[in-house]
């Protein structure tokens, strides 16, 4: 039987959820026997090379590019999971919702005490190579359909492990209360 294929992405996240996945420690060696990894920041696969069974999404959408990547994951993954607070509800980056993008940019690039005296041209980053900032940060399920939500900042390694192994073995998730952490 072919191994299940997993892909992962970090959108507007901090990589903490990916790090929490690594916190399954030596079981990562078991995991790589159970599954194959496709597109993910931990390897050099930059575009999908196969259809995937499970897609793990960290972070919400704060850039137009995040939306493209998320839609691409939806198209290529049978099961798509919001991993962590940012994917589920925007998380900490969503603290900028309610403040205009311009105000955020001006604080960082014009008003900050170490830039104030050195930005004579009042330059703000605006090159065509840079993706466009969205008006606010969106949780993933407002952009595409998400199948599962694993809470936590980040989700506990134990929660990620149990949820993944259940999916891999086609079993119902049996997640005891103790593995849910909401901080």
């Amino acid at each position: 039987m072919q191994k299940p294929v997993i892909a992962t992405a970090s959108l507007a996240g901090c990589f903490g959820c990916h790090m929490s996945l690594l916190d399954i420690d030596e079981r990562i060696l078991d995991l790589i026997e159970l599954v194959d990894f496709n597109k993910s920041p931990i390897n050099d696969i930059k575009e999908f090379t196969a259809e995937c069974d499970i897609g793990l999404i960290e972070g919400g959408c704060c850039l137009d590019e995040n939306v493209h990547v998320l839609r691409e994951f939806r198209n290529h993954c049978r099961i798509l999971i919001s991993m962590g607070e940012c994917a589920i509800m925007g998380g900490l980056p969503a603290m900028r919702n309610g403040i205009s993008v311009r105000e955020c940019l001006e604080e960082a690039y014009l008003n900050g005490p170490s830039v104030r005296n050195y930005n004579e041209g009042k330059v703000l980053p605006n090159d065509e190579e840079l993706p466009v900032l969205l008006n606010r940060v969106y949780p993933c399920h407002e952009v595409v359909k998400m199948d599962y939500f694993l809470p936590g900042c980040p989700p506990d390694a134990e929660l990620l492990w149990q949820a993944l192994t259940a999916l891999i073995h086609n079993k119902e998730m049996d997640l005891p209360y103790e593995v849910f952490k909401f901080d």
Partner: protein, 490 residues
């Protein structure tokens, strides 16, 4: 025909980035840029929050080294509550924080070397991309033990963080003026004598073995390791007393390419007198520089390579021995060899492992005098040496305890210009006059970036994201073609 090459996303770095390289009609590199393509806006949206939230809130700009942000923010907030600038805490609080920090250095350096960089060293820069990762490492019988060691070293560091901060990622241990817990004897004994094989002695041994691994690789690949992406620069870091390496606290020192001091151990509360940042329209990441030397010449490197150039000795015996061998390779002069960053990082890994053991053996970490308070100040600045380099946190607060200003200069931002120099150099060497751009050429650009271990997650606190692209432009700069790395022949 003129081309533009894009490598996007740059993988096996911790975060988001994108490189563009422009070639003209003659195949010469006319422009290369590392773009940081994310921005979050922390500086603005933490305004109005109470200052004691800063250590738990701001660390969420990076899940890879959250402890660094947690502690840098805590050090800034210490100043605000009148607990001094790093030496005003109780001995227990100071040592618990140091333990947390060295746990962080150990896990982060282990992650970088074993999980992200070693596949390039062991399989080669031009190996099949499908094989160039830690999973393939674990599946190769001769490297399986090494992959296991990497995993276990990271685990040890993470367990130290959990014991001191409460959680492995985004913990809460440091509070204004101290810490909220110390260790129990049982916890300490576990780290000193644990079997799993989680104990400090095993970490010291593995760190030494990793240095040997790197040095063997160096012997066999001397030209590549010494010359790949090598260029002179200034170097900046904190240094401890007598010029000793200290990653938690110290004075700010910079040396130039010849080793001459250009920033003389200043108190970092005054950093604004010495450091400025430039904004360029094509990156969300700013470009810091030493104001005395100006935007053009004032840029500097931070991180392991820089720290081993600024410090005079390492205060633990085995790391000091490794440091002496390392320094003798350049006859004591500053080391400007990009790939030697891996060597420097492993020496620091050894230093972190030895420091953890010394701290664990110190009875102060079991005591319960955890907090200091003093005269309230409206402003505080906290610096430390994060795994990737010097990290600056600066807050102003009002009488209602709300943050009114936050300024963050993260490690990877400090390395912005050096990474751009590295990209430029590799691009020129690898791509000039070539008719076809191959995948290994593009990976070489990424290898140069990866040596700085850029935590683009941190760097993009500001709103941002890193992909690698090569694009064709004509001599007027008009776009002819653009290709990403995996779109077939380029």
């Amino acid at each position: 025909m003129a081309q533009k090459i894009t490598i996007s996303p740059v993988t096996r770095v911790e975060g988001h980035g994108k490189v563009t390289i422009h070639l003209n009609d003659d195949g010469e590199v006319i422009q290369s840029r590392l773009h940081i393509v994310e921005f979050r806006g922390f500086e603005r949206f933490v305004q109005g929050r109470p200052y004691w939230e800063a250590p738990v809130l701001v660390q969420r700009l990076c899940g890879i080294c959250p402890v660094s942000h947690h502690l840098a923010a805590a050090k800034a907030v210490d100043v605000i509550v009148g607990a001094g600038t790093g030496d005003g805490l109780t001995p227990t609080a100071e040592k618990i924080r140091r333990l947390m920090h060295y746990g962080q250095i150990l896990q982060s350096h282990a992650l970088h070397f074993f999980h992200l960089a070693s596949p390039d060293l062991l399989f080669g820069v031009d190996a099949d991309p499908a094989r160039r990762n830690v999973i393939a490492l674990a599946r190769t019988p001769e490297y399986r033990d090494l992959a296991v060691q990497g995993v276990m070293m990271r685990k040890f560091g993470q367990e130290i963080i959990k014991a001191t901060a409460g959680k492995k990622i985004h913990g809460t241990g440091a509070i204004p003026g101290g810490v909220n817990r110390s260790l129990t004897e049982e916890e300490r004994d576990g780290f000193l004598k644990g079997e799993d094989p989680l104990n400090a002695d095993a970490m010291i041994e593995w760190a030494e073995a990793a240095i040997t691994l790197f040095r063997d690789f160096h012997k066999k690949n001397r030209e590549m390791v010494d010359e790949f992406s090598r260029f002179p620069s200034n170097h900046l870091s904190l240094v401890g007393k007598d010029g000793a390496m200290d990653l938690y606290h110290g004075k700010l020192r910079a040396v130039d390419a010849d080793g001459k001091k250009i920033l003389h151990d200043i108190d970092y509360q005054e950093y604004l007198d010495y450091i400025g940042e430039e904004v360029r329209s094509w990156s969300y990441m700013k470009f810091p520089f030493l104001t005395e030397l100006g935007k053009q010449d004032g840029w500097y490197r931070v991180g392991p390579l820089a720290r081993l150039n600024t410090c005079e000795h390492i205060p633990t015996p085995r790391a000091q021995e490794a440091f002496e061998t390392y320094k003798s390779y350049t006859d004591g002069r500053p080391n400007d060899m990009c790939m030697h960053t891996h060597w420097a990082r492993l020496i620091e890994t050894l230093f972190a492992a030895e420091s953890i053991k010394l701290l664990l053996e110190d009875p102060d970490i079991l005591k319960d005098d955890l907090l200091t308070k003093g005269k309230r100040y409206p402003e505080g600045i906290g610096l430390l040496e994060a795994p990737r380099g010097t990290l600056f946190h600066h807050y102003r607060v009002n009488e209602e305890d709300q943050i009114t200003m936050a300024n963050l200069i993260v490690s990877t931002t400090n390395n912005n210009q050096p990474m751009n120099e590295a990209v430029e150099q590799v691009a020129r060497k690898q791509m000039t006059g070539q008719k076809t751009i191959t995948e290994p050429m593009m990976n070489a650009v990424e290898v140069a970036i990866r040596a700085y271990d850029p935590c683009l997650s941190c760097a993009t606190h500001a709103i941002g994201r890193m992909p690698l692209e090569i694009t064709l432009v004509d001599r007027h700069g008009c776009l002819i073609d653009r290709k990403a790395r995996w779109s077939g022949t380029i």
